[in-house]
Amino acid sequence: MNAEELTQVKVDKSVDARGTSCPGPLLAAKKAIGQIEKGQVMEVLSADEGTRRDIPKWCNKKGFEYLGTIEESGFFKILLRK
């Protein structure tokens, strides 16, 4: 998915984990994923560069589809489909 397509994705659930450092964002993502259905899209907002690498690994393990990351000013928007 390219950058433009990524910004067009409809987000069903947004998790703001900008106030935490590793492993906070991962924990926040784990807690929130239970609140969406299979096929729905979740975004994780994190100011932590490490989370950007961590979330795809987590998706791979859990069988979620990692869609990509949008770089905003000072934080990342990491998108995945359950």
Binding site: P23, L27, K61, K62
Partner: protein, 187 residues
């Protein structure tokens, strides 16, 4: 007839293979077994971050606290109620009273370094060891305390923190759990 016999051999082979696969699967579970040996602030922090991270990824986590690390599980508001002998009291007085006053393994500088690191952590929203331990409890991370080293250090069960999945065990429990874990660590 020979064709039937051949089919039977293949079926038997498949059955044997299935058994082996199941055995292999049972041997290595999605589980992390960690020996926590040190009571240095930095090492306890590393151990807890890894443990909580693993639990966040739905890996089952078992922590084995032994030797110095046991002092990090003491509750400073509890006491052994006169059960301790002189040497145990001495050791207890010289070791950290809880997870809140651990020392850094480097640059501790009489506690100045530890204080500085904690203030930096707070500023950067890094969870404190106390918070991580609380999260660990919420995630169902199991903690097992080595009974032998606890007796050696003169610690009593009455002085340990309230933790939902806390038990006491020996080396065989760790080895059995580690044997079926896909990840084993010593910190």
């Amino acid at each position: 007839m020979p064709q039937e016999a051949e089919q039977k051999t293949i079926e038997q082979k498949i059955e044997a293979l299935e058994k082996q696969v199941k055995q292999l699967q049972d041997q290595r579970q999605d589980q992390l077994s960690m020996v926590v040996f040190s009571n240095d602030l930095d090492k306890i922090l590393a151990a807890l971050v890894i443990a909580v991270g693993a639990a966040a990824m739905d890996t089952k986590v078992k922590l084995f606290f032994t030797f110095w690390a046991i002092s990090a599980l003491k509750d400073k508001n509890k006491n052994a109620g006169g059960k301790k002998d002189f040497k145990s009291k001495m050791l207890g007085a010289m070791l950290p009273h809880s997870i809140s006053n651990l020392k850094l393994s480097k640059l501790n500088m009489e506690g100045m370094g530890a204080k500085m690191i904690k203030s930096i952590m707070k500023k950067q929203n890094v969870a404190s060891p106390e918070e991580l331990l609380k999260t660990a409890a919420e995630l169902g991370i199991e903690i097992c305390i080595c009974e032998m080293s606890m007796n050696m250090m003169g610690f009593k069960k009455e002085e340990m923190i309230d933790y939902p999945n806390l038990s006491y065990c020996g080396v065989a429990t760790f080895l059995a759990d580690a044997g079926e874990s896909s990840i084993q660590l010593f910190i």
